[in-house]
């Protein structure tokens, strides 16, 4: 079989060659390989400079202060550090946290850990389009609320929350506001000051950068510290111990530099491809879109197909590399809790495909995808016991 067409950019992405080259510079035997903590010699200082440059590049995309970029092993760690570390840091003020039932498991898992540690958590339900009304957040705030965590764009549906409005509500109430912007970084405008974001989660591997590197970006006007999750050698002002992985950090810097540089052209190009894809299949009976019809990022298209069983649907289009639900869920084999929260039945959640595009997606990819989806869905629908022909 030929290599499948890759339409799983929301799960992970190939590393851009320019990112790879910058990583290589920090991997060799020349001076770039040092330990940034070893400030007493040139190797360490050269490494520290690479880290500083990357912090500036990452901070620039979201209009943050490079000194408040905390490097982590990825968005899972950033989410945990923000939610657990942020809430614990303010535990003297209260023990209540607000989030949404369609957040990423990293946020939900961190919230569950907070519950085990004596916090109360309110899980807001989005509407059928996946949207959380800012007023719903306002209504959930209590005098002892210390943190609100709402993602920018959902990883399964691409649905966009009104971060700025929620941020303003949190700022007003002096509650820490954490935003998981993994899926939106480089795809939607982000400005931590203007959007009243206190803690921002980003990573590299959803944007053609390396896996295993992310950051928690703090807004120093409101929060300069969270309770650490990892203790050790005092790196990163004690907030996150561990030797800094310079090549990974350099790669993330380049990733964000490229995002900033190419956003204006790439975002509409990819949206156009995504819309072509949708136009190519939307007429098929039983095919429905998941999430708000407009308020979605331009790289994700998630559909459910009525009358078709999920496993067969996936297999019928296995010339496409896509995810049913989120990749993080495919290990569990359970129907997506995100689509369930949008009111889809188990069967419709199972018979869903997330088609996600990115930098190396082409019109040819989209054409192949349309052909495969049409053929597969039509064949399976003809096989349905409910098929009109039978």
């Amino acid at each position: 079989m030929a290599e499948p067409t890759y339409l799983d950019y929301a799960a992970t992405t190939p590393v851009d060659p320019r990112v790879r080259d910058r990583m290589l510079a920090a991997l060799g035997r020349d001076s770039g390989f040092g330990n940034p903590a070893a400030v007493t010699h040139a190797f360490g200082r050269a490494a520290a400079r690479q880290v500083e440059q990357a912090a500036a590049e990452v901070a620039a995309l979201v209009h943050a202060d490079p000194a408040y970029v905390v490097w982590t092993s990825g968005a899972t760690e950033s989410d945990n550090l923000a939610v657990i570390g942020g809430a614990l840091f303010r535990r003297q003020r209260g023990r209540h946290v607000v989030t949404v039932s369609t957040e990423h498991k990293a946020v939900l898992g961190a919230c569950a850990e907070l519950e085990r540690r004596g916090f109360a958590v309110t899980y807001l339900q989005p509407d059928r389009d996946g949207i959380v009304a800012p007023q719903a957040v306002a209504a959930a705030l209590q005098p002892d609320t210390v943190l609100v965590s709402v993602m920018h764009a959902n990883n399964e549906t691409g649905v966009i929350q009104d971060i700025a409005a929620i941020g303003a509500i949190c700022r007003q109430a002096d509650v820490l506001f954490h935003v998981d912007a993994v899926q939106s970084a480089g795809k939607l405008p982000l400005d931590i000051a203007a959007q009243c974001i206190d803690l921002l989660t980003v990573n590299a591997h959803k944007a053609c950068g390396p896996k295993g590197i992310g950051a928690l970006i703090m807004n120093p006007v409101t929060v300069r510290r969270v309770e650490p999750l990892l203790w050790g050698g005092g790196q990163q002002r004690g907030i996150r111990a561990g030797t800094l992985p310079v090549h990974q950090i350099a790669g993330m810097g380049e990733t964000f530099r490229l995002l900033a540089q190419e956003m204006a052209t790439e975002v509409p190009r990819i949206r156009q491809l995504r819309d072509t894809l949708w136009d190519g299949i939307r007429d098929l009976p039983g095919v429905v879109l998941n999430g708000h019809p407009e308020r979605r990022i331009g790289s994700i298209l998630t559909v459910s197909v009525a009358g078709v069983e999920g496993e067969s649907l996936r297999y019928a289009v296995n010339d496409l590399a896509v995810t049913s639900g989120s990749a993080c869920n495919s290990a569990s084999g359970e129907p997506s809790y995100v689509l369930r929260a949008l009111g889809r039945s188990d069967a419709m959640a199972e018979a869903s495909l997330r088609l996600s595009l990115g930098r190396f997606s082409s019109a040819a990819d989209v054409a192949r995808a349309i052909a495969s989806l049409r053929a597969g869905i039509q064949r399976l629908q003809a096989l349905s016991p409910e098929a009109p022909a039978a």
């Binding site: 297999y315 188990d346 016991p385 409910e386 098929a387 039978a390």
Partner: protein, 133 residues
């Protein structure tokens, strides 16, 4: 860590398009039987043209995973030319080893058996005429 894999027997049967409903010549009958539901994880419908106490042109419809679809296809093929009484023979839905159906799915084979039994009942319930869904 590796998702559902299918052997070539499954792959090949899964890929076949649905057999169209046969036209019913005089002296023949189209019978059918359905079982299962989305909640059961599979819904299966068999149909067959009965001619001179033989099952000819046996087909199926299924909302099911590839393994169960392949099992339907195999069973339908085996029934071809057999007497309708065989619709209730367990051996039909036994002997599916060639499909390497994972154990956790074997329970769904009962749905196939139920659909076949319903087919048989269809023959007895209505001495003639077009099958009901």
């Amino acid at each position: 860590m590796t998702g559902p894999r299918y052997n070539t027997a499954v792959t090949e049967r899964f890929s076949r398009p649905a057999l169209p409903l046969p036209t019913v010549p005089a002296g023949s009958r189209l019978i059918s039987g359905t079982a299962g539901s989305e909640r059961d994880g599979a819904r299966v419908r068999f149909f067959a043209l009965v001619q001179q106490d033989r099952l000819c042109e046996v087909g199926f419809r299924a909302w099911a995973c590839p393994h169960i679809i392949a099992a339907c296809s195999l069973v339908a093929e085996r029934l071809q030319g057999r007497p309708p009484a065989d619709l209730c023979q367990a051996e039909l839905t036994g002997g599916l080893e060639e499909l390497e159906i994972p154990v956790e799915k074997m329970g769904k084979i009962l749905i196939l058996q139920d659909a076949l039994r319903a087919c048989r009942e269809d023959l007895h319930a209505r001495p003639s005429g077009r099958a009901s869904a």
